[in-house]
């Protein structure tokens, strides 16, 4: 009996001492994630304008009704902008970064240098890239891109300074950071065993067949990862827009959801900001869930 209780005590101690290692993250999730998530849901049902403690009066679903009613022209537009960006930029990023990685896994001299160069724009701090791009790609004749265009005899293009071209410009500028997904692809492509390609060679498969039936299927875990993270990140675009120093027309076309939330936050309409951020959360959760549901095509190898 005594041995038994001692054994039990030892077991509890063992559990506690193991749990102690993950205690920081458990506390972190409780304090910095779960509690704020729940509070922001609560705030979204109230009318809260103050940053100090406590909430305003309880209004039920009124904030959501307003968002989908009175404010819908604005909100609907920024949801549309955010979706437009995601739908165009995400597939482009996936395909181009894969193409780049595919080129850079071949055995040619100087390959490492090219990898470094293509990765370099990823390292540019957000604020610096905002300042830089609004200087290189504004609509004036003095911007770097327009000077090159003019030198080629092409008239100036408005780039960031017009409502009709700002989104196009933003998407293209975003492609300069495909280096970060490229690195993931390279790692995955390199981890494919050579023996697979050797067998394919023996069978007389050409380069295209090898790409479609070996490389791409073996890369599905990265496709899946890039897809999920891509959805999550591109629906939350914020810093890259707010750091641009461009004409109001251009800003109008880049009015993403999180930019709207920030505007509410700045005008201290905190409950509205919370309601809109919960709408964003539901959109992200729904899209992620759909992606997870249809992940039968992902090949995880044998050891999962």
């Amino acid at each position: 009996m005594r041995a038994f209780t001692q054994n039990k005590k030892a077991k509890i101690f063992d559990w506690l001492s193991s749990f102690a290692f993950i205690l920081p993250v458990v506390l972190g999730i409780l304090i910095f994630t779960l509690f704020p998530m729940v509070s922001s849901l609560v705030y979204s049902f109230t009318r809260t304008y103050t940053t100090v403690k406590g909430t305003g009066e309880w209004v039920g679903l009124q904030n959501y009704i307003d968002l989908f009613g009175v404010y819908w022209p604005e909100i609907g537009k920024s949801i549309g902008i955010t979706f437009l960006f995601t739908v165009i930029s995400l597939p482009l990023t996936l395909v181009l970064s894969f193409g780049l990685a595919f080129l850079l896994t071949k055995d040619i001299k100087g390959i490492k240098m090219f990898r470094v160069i293509y990765y370099l724009p990823v390292m540019i701090p957000t604020v610096v890239s905002g300042i830089l791009w609004s200087m290189l790609a504004n609509g004036s004749d003095m911007s770097a891109f327009n000077m090159i265009l003019n030198a080629c005899g092409i008239p100036s293009f408005p780039f960031y300074d017009s409502e009709s071209t700002a989104m196009f410009t933003f998407i293209v500028m975003g492609l300069f950071t495909i280096g970060s997904s490229m690195i993931l692809w390279i790692a995955q492509i390199k981890s494919i065993p050579d023996s697979m390609y050797e067998v394919a060679d023996l069978e007389g498969a050409n380069a295209f067949v090898k790409l479609v039936s070996i490389t791409i299927p073996m890369c599905t875990p990265i496709i899946f990862y890039n897809l999920i993270m891509g959805i999550i990140n591109s629906l939350q675009v914020f810093s890259n827009v707010i750091t641009l120093n461009i004409e109001p027309g251009g800003k109008e076309a880049l009015d993403f959801i999180v930019v709207q939330i920030y505007d509410y936050y700045q005008s201290t309409d905190l409950s509205m900001a919370c309601a809109l951020s919960w709408i964003l959360f539901i959109i992200i959760a729904a899209l992620s869930a759909v992606t997870f549901k249809f992940n039968k095509w992902v090949y995880y190898g044998e050891d999962v």
């Binding site: 193991s18 080129l103 724009p121 701090p125 003095m142 300069f176 390279i186 999550i232 120093n245």
Partner: protein, 281 residues
């Protein structure tokens, strides 16, 4: 016959190189243009040139005032503290998830991974109220303290993947020799994880160096700004007159230098770090 195949191959290789070089020029263009402009005279800027007619360091003298150095100092202090906190905290948690067996481990781990999907904007407002209530706004605490609590799901995930590659027999042998869990963590597991520890240290420092959104939300006092926020209020969101382009580019170039140096010195760690263990669930 043979030589024609060889010629074809040579042409193919040349085309490939040509393509890679054109692309490299394209990718280098923004950074090069930024550096060129930072050395231009005001006159060159007004004429809107791509390449300076004469090099001047005047923009650097204008950009690097006392305030700039103050923000630089702030950024360095915050970056180093964040780096220590994030690395320490995420390695402890990763060790728990990778090497210790206890009830509820998998449940907590999936909870950690799930947080990756929560949009950070949802938490900002209640966090603002919380920090405000504790008197943390206008201080660096909101930038620093969360890092000590777990250090981010992705870091924990990457470290755990790496630690799982360490054979359990090594830890078991140490346990039989009487080492407790913490000793095994500090003396055996961590020394074997240096590549991923280096990766996490590097990315957390850079992440903090570049961080813009957190200081934007929680810091209003110019003396507490980090470099990102300082440059933002000086060159982007400035109600007064914004300094000319060459000064802006000089300030930006200086901010980019530490990132570029770290990147060139540790590119192997950076590029390999992402890939350890793959991104498999």
């Amino acid at each position: 016959m043979r030589s024609s195949i060889k010629a074809k191959r040579a042409i193919g290789l040349t085309l490939k190189y040509l393509f890679l070089i054109v692309l490299a020029v394209l990718f280098l263009f923004p950074v090069l243009e930024m550096i060129f402009r930072s050395f231009m005279t005001d006159q060159d800027i007004r004429f809107g040139l791509l390449f300076p007619t004469e090099f001047t360091v005047r923009p650097y003298i204008d950009a690097l005032d006392a305030e700039y150095f103050w923000w630089l100092k702030n950024t360095l202090i915050i970056g180093v503290i964040c780096m220590v906190g994030i690395t320490l905290s995420s390695s402890l948690c990763a060790y728990g998830f990778a090497k210790l067996r206890f009830k509820g481990r998998e449940l907590f781990f999936s909870l950690v991974l799930a947080t990756l999907m929560l949009p950070s904007i949802c938490m900002q407002i209640p966090l603002y109220k919380m920090y405000y209530g504790m008197g943390w706004t206008n201080s660096w605490l909101p930038l620093i303290v969360p890092g000590f609590f777990g250090g981010g799901a992705l870091n924990i995930f990457l470290m755990r993947q790496y630690m799982r590659g360490i054979p359990d027999t090594i830890c078991d042998a140490a346990k039989i020799d009487g080492a407790n869990k913490f000793v095994i963590y500090a003396a055996i597991v961590m020394p074997m994880c240096l590549p991923i520890v280096g990766y996490v240290m590097l990315t957390s420092f850079l992440g903090c160096w570049n961080d813009f959104m957190t200081p934007l939300l929680y810091i209003n006092e110019p003396a507490m700004y980090n470099l990102s926020l300082g440059l933002y209020y000086r060159y982007v969101n400035n109600a007064g007159s914004i300094p000319p382009a060459n000064v802006q580019m000089a300030a930006a170039t200086i901010m980019l230098i530490p990132c570029a140096v770290l990147f060139f010195c540790f590119q192997k760690v950076l590029i390999n770090g992402v890939t350890v263990g793959g991104v498999k669930g």
